[in-house]
Assembly symmetry: D2
Homo-oligomer: 342 residues x 4
């Protein structure tokens, strides 16, 4: 049994990690941290877990937590992860960081995107971007994973196969219209997240400036280096969990048929047990993936306009956070990728 | 007091019409029809109206209904409107048709789009497309209005001002990603509209084949005749009412600044009391317009990608149906456009 | 036109007041206050009202606000209302207080129930409890109304007619199981009111200790002085607005038939245009009353257990707050009770 | 591996069974039936299960299905279960019936409660009422379980311990106010279950005549035979799943303290791993139990009225249907009661 600690276990992604890992056959949760709830029984805060665990929340003191676990999941604020992860790595621990603190390879982005100066350039270079579907072998031999963001996961899984078709990406205009349930904003109290404000509301926000944009572009440009900047419009829809993105691809002149394109997607994800390229005209929708680690994808050519549309759906807390973190853990420890996730 | 009949008054648009018109100072509702609820008190079916009206539902028999009113609102199935409207017009009545039966000028569309052969070509030519904001003077002198569809209303109000900027439209690629609450599907019983299916679901449907596509293109091409076919992706989000559309404009090479574009929109809608071009970076959202007849619009240039994004929000049952029908009635009868709508 | 000020206009009850009063034919809103949003345009905070008003929020400075209006609606925190209302009354203004600061006649209750010592005993004696249905004549000649609480409104409208049947109330055990939408908790930011916490949750709270209990008992005991303490169990259900209470009456030995009882209710509310005693076995439900000022009530005798059940439904923000406040204003100013409320 | 068939696998309880059993370590699902979806892949109807199973729906032909499994779960309409269960039992199969067809021991109830004449009196006598918490030993040696109804489960778990305190029950008046999410009504299409009708609605129904009333009384009276008829008021609240009941106990004169009563509850459920008697004043709520097999219970004495209030919450599809069925299967096969349910 791998002893694992979950740092930041009272947030929504943290709770999902506890839920998944408490059912995982090769893992034992040995510590859960929370500044706010320290000393309290986990089940007193996360009521569904009452009687299922005796864990108490503890504060995140490195010296206390360090000996308790071999693997650390960080579901912390970005800036805090930035400070904590290096200490764990230097102490020889395995780390899967769910925050954004080590996703962007170029430190220049951090002040603007995440609001802090990045001071661990060596670890930026060393960390592996944990999109399991495209990085599985690198993850297997590594001890430090930067887990992808939720919007980035849905968007990249939808678009990465395309990069092989569009070459260097020059002249391709990508529009991503992204819809997310409210848990994506985290468990903070905020007026706009109150039930009475959010119910009945479809509310776009951070148009063109969402922190996942550089993360998405970084991954796309590893394969299509001349891809122009993307247009990314996120919006909140009135539901607890789930992300659906619709991607529109402009400027792609190809004689590739939609069937060939789809065949290409299927091949691209041959060894990806959680990617489901839907057959026929089946349309991904959030209800088809929530409470699972699946990403449903389909590619359409609008017969009327001849334009290419790609739609993908995930559960933002599972495939978009805790589930993919467990998937990475499985790869790290050479377990079957699906262990504890079906 | 104008005596009005509402044909199809038990559906969601019909109910909204009854609600608005029962508060309207210049109108008296004299008949409400429903095949299903004939003979029943209106308030027994629409509970909020209990004790506020003594109206009984009646079947839609032309001979019985005809003498009761001067103005007829048709909130009927498309094919039924197609049959009923001509009888009313020929009897000298005023008609505002909320169905799609007379929106498309070219009869060739009807079999594919609406599933029936159109046999009243003369009335197709005569009917006025009732997007009040652009057709007010034509509506004023007319007796037969084809009220716009809900998605079409939001999309056209967002895009019509743009047509003046893009000339004949050649080379412009428009992507419209449209999110709607469930009342847009009407009051029919349908498995996919059940609470347990629809809650927590963002579900795209009819990709590229929605019936509002030709309606939108017809209106856009009156001003930009070479505009290529549009890409329209509608989706259901888990809420009762509200539509938000995001429109992406590709292929537009212009040196028009975003400020000039916005200024142009404001001028375009100078005399449109229900259009609110939001200042600054304020983002339209459905909660800001539901239960009102307003359409909130803003135009953005994504500073990262330089792409143009237009966002518009309406209440699908009010500005997208009953409210705009009342607005058209006001114009028809030379009443202040906002009467009964504020 | 009566010049009115709404103090605390950014909360949910305050917003509803602005919405109702801006449509009221005899009223002009001359001031809206908010500490948090002072100087901001009202429509920048309450988006549905954009372009419909030029009002700016202002801080609640008595000297500035006093000259602006003749009638003041107070939608303030209880303790603040307690301080402000007397100043307005002494300056000769009309006041309708939506808070709980003057509802309980006996000052002894305030420290425990509302958390402050009441220091205006003279005004407690003078204020009129504004349940219009039972106090209309007293309201008409008065200048200071303590508007009822939302749960209290639904409960009292359901139970007050019963007091005439149960005499002094001795031996009657009342159980009230009360379900409320989340807006009842106000517009504060609070973790338990976040969408992700409240969605999918039916959550009882303050069992037996809700602040509306003494308010309900005070009104019931004016008619049935020996009534034992009531059992009141409030709970939150996942919706924005609406209250439904089910009341169970134990210990009542009577030979009154359910038909006679219903007849008695109908007579009791003969002159109450917003009370609908439903016919037959029609069951009140929140969807039948939301966005209206109605209270739907029905009385049942469970044929299986022979027990009496009374069910009532209101919109907590309208009949439970802003609507009844406007109803009281209408009575105060000798306007038709329904003005601006249909 | 026990080969199991799920008859009626497309409804909500059936889907939950498939979901739970597909993760159960001792079970193999060998058949899923549905009249409507026969021949279709299971994952084409239940999208979350896409790629996780190759099962095809088949029609429920006894001769085809019989050889496929050893244990049959029936999630069928009541009248159909009544016909099918005997054939399975006579063929020597194990049967867990989720319908109501064999819950009531006295056949006299069926025409009125379930709308059909019961013709298998021998099996009524033989079937075991599957409330595991109180019938575990009887279930262990048996082959035919009548699984409890969802409301009945929550109500009985809340009240059965009380029967030991109230003796024969004479003079005890029980009021049960029960709130359920919409999945309790099943997956049928019905106007009142449409999103636009159900959202924002708290709607009582079947006051005093719900089919679970005789089931509840049958179980309570096995211990308290003189208990008067209960008052049961079910209502729908706008959420997918979850039941919360509040029970009010009138007419109980006892000097038992609330602490002793609670102690008694804890003892009563000593060996019940899914019952959580909450400590202190913690209040059960649906969000604390959904997606689990737990029943949270707490007992309160309202300090103001001195009345006893018992609150219980379950997930209606899990503890109220599929979960308790699996729990019964575990007991039947002498597996640990919690297998596959944590």
């Amino acid at each position: 049994m791998i002893p694992v600690a979950i740092c930041g276990a009272s947030g929504y992604a943290g709770q999902e990690l506890v839920s998944l890992l408490s059912r995982h056959p090769s893992v034992k949760i040995t510590a859960v941290t929370s500044e706010r709830y320290a000393e309290k029984p986990y089940g007193d805060i996360v009521h569904t877990m009452r009687s299922r665990t005796n864990l108490l929340f503890e504060k995140l003191h490195i010296e206390t937590v360090l000996p308790k676990a071999e693997l650390f999941f960080l579901a912390l604020p970005h800036a805090l992860s930035h400070d904590i992860a290096p200490q764990l790595i230097h102490a020889g621990k395995q780390v899967i960081d769910i925050s954004g603190a080590f996703r962007l390879k170029n430190p220049i982005h951090y002040p603007k995107v995440y609001g802090f100066e990045h001071t661990h350039h060596d670890l930026l270079a060393k960390s592996i971007y944990g999109l399991t579907e495209t990085n599985k072998s690198a993850i297997a031999g590594n001890s430090f994973i930067a887990n992808p963001g939720c919007y980035a996961t849905a968007t990249l899984l939808a678009l990465l196969p395309l990069t092989a078709c569009i070459g260097n990406g020059e002249g391709i205009i990508l529009y991503i219209d992204a819809k997310s349930g409210l848990s994506g904003a985290g468990r903070k109290t905020d007026q706009t997240l109150q039930f009475c404000e959010a119910d009945h509301d479809v509310r776009p926000y951070k148009i063109g400036v969402h922190q996942h944009v550089p993360e998405i572009e970084q991954a796309l440009r590893m394969r299509s280096p001349s891809l122009p900047n993307i247009t990314f419009v996120p919006m909140i829809v009135p539901m607890e969990r789930g992300i659906l993105i619709s991607a529109y691809v402009s400027g792609w002149n190809t004689d590739m048929s939609i069937d060939d394109l789809k065949e290409h997607y299927i091949k691209f994800y041959t060894n990806a047990p959680f990617i489901r390229i839907l057959g026929g005209n089946r349309i991904p929708h959030t209800k088809g993936v929530i409470h699972t680690n699946y990403c449903d994808i389909n590619i359409f050519r609008d017969e009327h306009s001849k334009q290419i549309i790609i739609i993908a759906a995930i559960d933002n807390l599972i495939k978009g956070a805790a589930g993919s973190a467990v998937q990475n853990m499985n790869s790290m420890y050479d377990l079957d990728e699906t262990t504890g996730l079906l």
